[in-house]
Every structure is written in C-alpha cells, then in structure tokens.
C-alpha cells in the first residue's frame, strides 16, 4: 500500500512539470488551429489563456503566442489592440521578424508598423567572458528592432557611466567590444557594473533601456623590482697622486743605470756616447712624468668602464620600468553576466 502510494508520488512529481509545459503548448496549438479555421474569437481565447500560463522567461513561446494573437486581433478588426500586441512582441524579442509565408500582408503591415514605432535592442553575449586587457575584450552583438539611435554604456551599479562603448545608429546589428578600461584608460577595479543599452527616440530621449548586470573581476600582474644602481661596482674616476714617485724614481734609476752601468759591464771598452743620450732621455721623461702626474687626475679608463656600467644599468632600469608600466596597465578580466532587465518608458 505504502509502496504503491510512493510510486504514484514519484510519477506525479515527474509528470507534473511536463504536463504544465504541455498545457500552454496545446493551448497554442489549439489557438493556431482555430486561427487557421478562421475562428478568431476562439483562437484569441486559447492564446490569451496560453500567455497567462507561460512563464516570463519563455520568450520563444510567448513570442509565438503573441504574434498569433496580434494576427487574430487584426482579423477581429481590433487594429489598435493588434498594434499594441505587436509592440509587446517587439519589446519581448526585438530581433523577431514575422514570417511572411505564414501571415498575409494585412498582418505583416501592422506588425511592421508596430516594429517601426518600437525602438528596442536585443543583445547576444556569452554569460562569462575572460580576457586580458590589450589582447581581447568583452564582446556583445546588438540586434535592433528597427533603425534608431542607441547608446551603449558600461555603468556602475548606481547607473553612473564608466565608459561609453557605442553611441550611434543601429539597423540590423552592431558589434560592441569593451576592453576592460574606463574612459580615462585605467583598468576598472573589480566590482558590480551593468551594461546599459539605451534605445533613443528622435529627440535623443531614452525610450527603452536594456540592462545586463555584470560582475567584473580584474586581476593585475605583479610588478618587478627596479635594478639597484651599480654604485658599489663603480671604479674611482679620479685619483690624487702624491707626486708620481714611480715616474721620478723609476726614470732616474733606469736613466742612471743606462748611463753609468755600461762602464762597469764593459770596463775595458771604449764606449760611445749613445748611453748618455738614452739615459738622459729616460731621466728627463721620468721627471716630466713626475711633474705631470701630480695633483688630481681623472682616470679615463675607469670613466669609460663606469659609463658602460651606468649605461647598462639605465637600460635595465628603463626596460624594467617599461615592463612594470605594461603590467600596471594590464590585467586579466573576468566578466560574468546576469539576467537582463528591460525598462520601457511609459507610453512609448
């Protein structure tokens, strides 16, 4: 007994949603049959009941039911009602176009008039998008109900503008791309934003705004430290000599040796005067070196080495700074898109 009751409960829970979905479908099917049989009052009843039962999110079936209901009202001589119903269709699915093989011109003309009078935009976008600034972006394709002006903005949650992504006309479709940056070029911080697509009338007033809530997560790359200045590696560029002792002593010693020692090396020979000349030149060169090497002197070799070190350091520093600038200005961005919300101006 208990087992039978349990099985019935399972069957009821499984079948009930299916039956719920089938009821609007069967009502729409019955309405279409009545419409084709020219039983427009009956058809209107089926479509009205189906619309009452359909969920708000069931855009496709609501669009179908509303379209047939509008056509039914055309044949019921309810032109204003038909126009209003078709405007609901356009707002519901701005990219929807009536099937001209199914509906005759007297219906399609009313639908077209309603479409032209109802500027609206639908958007196709992925629910989660990831990109790196400078490489990719957050993309959306917008579809217009009719030719009109639109303004696409990234806004904060308080509706203040962060960046205008597009402002201009839309006919059939317009692609948009957001690079993750605000108007000033900075990567936006993580937070909640919204993509607001405003359809404008001829006076520039927004008659309809389609909003997608966005959750934006930006992750910046770490910067690298700048290389330290090579102060510890620099060689002394000046030296203060105390008198060029090596020049003086070395020059005099060698000069005297060249002048005097030959007599000891070759005591029995009659030597030429060449040794005096060479020895004298060496001694004089030593004195000259002594005199010119005194005081504060620069060391060109060390200066060249230091210039090379400083140049290499500057190049490394500039490269690191450029890389840091690139990293600071770049970020990995994740955008998660929430359920859209459309706001129509009253009476439009």
């Amino acid at each position: 007994m208990i087992r039978t009751g349990g099985a019935a409960l399972v069957v009821a829970l499984t079948v009930a949603p299916t039956l719920q979905a089938q009821v609007p479908d069967s009502l729409i099917a019955s309405g279409v049959r009545a419409y084709r049989n020219l039983e427009f009052d009956v058809a209107a009843g089926f479509f009205t009941r189906a619309l009452t039962l359909l969920g708000v999110a069931d855009t496709a079936r609501r669009t179908e039911a509303l379209t047939y209901l509008g056509a039914t009202e055309v044949y019921r001589q309810q032109a204003d009602t038909a126009h209003a119903i078709f405007r609901r269709v356009v707002r519901l699915a701005p990219a929807h176009r009536i099937d001209r093989l199914i509906f005759p011109p007297e219906v399609t003309s009313v639908f077209d008039a309603a479409r032209r009078a109802t500027p609206a935009v639908a958007a196709r976008l992925d629910r989660e998008q990831r990109f790196r600034t400078g490489v990719g972006g957050f993309s959306a394709i917008l579809y217009g109900s009719t030719f009109h002006q639109i303004r696409v903005e990234l806004q904060r949650s308080d509706a203040s503008a962060v960046r205008t992504l597009y402002a201009g006309p839309i006919a059939d479709s317009v692609p948009t791309l957001w690079d993750g940056r605000a108007t000033d070029g900075a990567v936006v911080p993580s937070g909640r934003y919204q993509l607001a697509i405003a359809s404008l009338d001829s006076g520039g007033t927004a008659v309809r705004i389609l909003r997608f809530p966005l959750e934006v997560v930006t992750t910046r790359q770490d910067t690298m430290p700048l290389p330290p200045a090579p102060e510890a590696e620099l060689l002394p560029e000046r030296k203060t000599t105390t008198g060029g002792l090596e020049s003086l002593v070395g020059g005099l010693l060698v000069g005297v040796a060249v002048t005097a020692l030959p007599s000891s090396i070759a005591p029995d020979a009659s030597l030429s005067g060449g040794r005096f000349f060479v020895g004298g030149v060496i001694a004089v060169a030593g004195v000259v070196g002594f005199l010119t090497s005194r005081g504060d002197r620069t060391i060109p070799e060390n200066i060249a080495v230091n210039d090379s070190l400083r140049g290499a350091w500057r190049a490394a520093r500039d490269a690191a700074a450029a890389e840091n600038e690139r990293r600071r200005s770049a970020a990995d961005v994740v955008v998660r898109v929430g359920a859209p919300q459309a706001i129509d101006r009253e009476g439009s």
Binding site: E246, S247, G250, V258, A266, S272, V278
Partner: protein
Amino acid sequence: MTRNTAALLLFALTAAARPAWGQSGAVHLGAGQVRAEQVFSVGDTVARSGFAWSLDGAFGIGPATLAVRYLEGSLASDDTATETDLVEGEVILWFAPVRWAAVGAGPHVRAYVEEGGTERWTMWEVRARGTAQLTGAVTAYGELWTVLGSGLPVTGSLDRGLGLEGGLRIAFGRLPFSGQLRYRVNQLAVADGGRLETVEQLGIAVGIGRR
C-alpha cells in the same frame, strides 16, 4: 735585409695581428747603429761599426712572455774599411711575477760573417728586467744579464759575460702602435785574456702591439 729577415718579419706581423695567440703581443721593426769592438790576446783591437736592422717579437700569456729578437747589419772596420756582417738572434722566456719586474732566460747567438768563414758566439743568459711607468704612454725599462753558459769560437773558457739594455717604450695614444728607443751593451771576456768582445747598439723601433 735578407730573404730570411723578410720571412721572419712576415711571420711576426702575422702573429701580432692574431691576438688569439695570447693575451699580449707586439712586433717591432728597428734600426740603429751598432759598434763592435774586439780586443785580441796579442793586443790588437779591431773596432767595427755600421747600420743594422732588427726585428723584435713578444707574445705573452699571463705572466709569461716569449721574446724573440733578430738583428742583422753590416759593419765596417774603422781602420781597414773591410766589411763584416753581424747577425744576432735571441730567444728569451720571461716571467713577470709583478708588473714592474721580470726575470728571463734563453739563448743568444751572435755571428760575424766574413768571406773567410763565420765566427759564432753562443751564450745562455739569465736576465732581469725592471719597468717603470713614467707617464700614461711612456714606460722606461732596464735589463741586466749575465752569461751562464757559452759556446765560443775561440779557445778558452768564458771568464765574464755581462749585458745591459735600457730604453723607453712609447704607446701612441689609443692606436695599437708603439715605439722604442733603446741602448744595449754586451761584453764577453774569454779567460786568460784570450778575447774581449764588446757590442754596443743604439736604435729605435716602431711596431704593432705593446709589451
């Protein structure tokens, strides 16, 4: 300059142009005055003088440097005006433990070439050299050496063999060229007054590289 000299010059220049052979290298071509004085046992003295070419090369790796020298000249007797060719060659291996001092050793051969024959002196020498940097471009050096072994063309043993060379080396700025001014004297005394041989050289040289 003989064909041998030209070949040596070509070889040395080629070697100096390839620094991969060592950390330092230099080749110098020199010219100068040579005076040779020979005192014989009988008391005769023959003095000759003339002009000579020289070719020096030095190739160093770290503290070690191999220095070679070739000299060739024609000497005329002061009295008889007869000419004698003088040819010298030496190979000294230097070791410099510090920048300003080095010691070296090697053979030194001298030959007097005359129509009657060649008189060849072979000396094995040990040398010491001191160097002083006088200015950024000028270096003074002095060498002293003594002969430890010899091969003589005369009877008797070598009683004394000493030599000295001093001079200046000048680097021409940042160019790889350098020049030298040098004076050299060398005397060999054969025991028992058998022979006294003195050679004096004064010359300049220019070349590629620096020692």
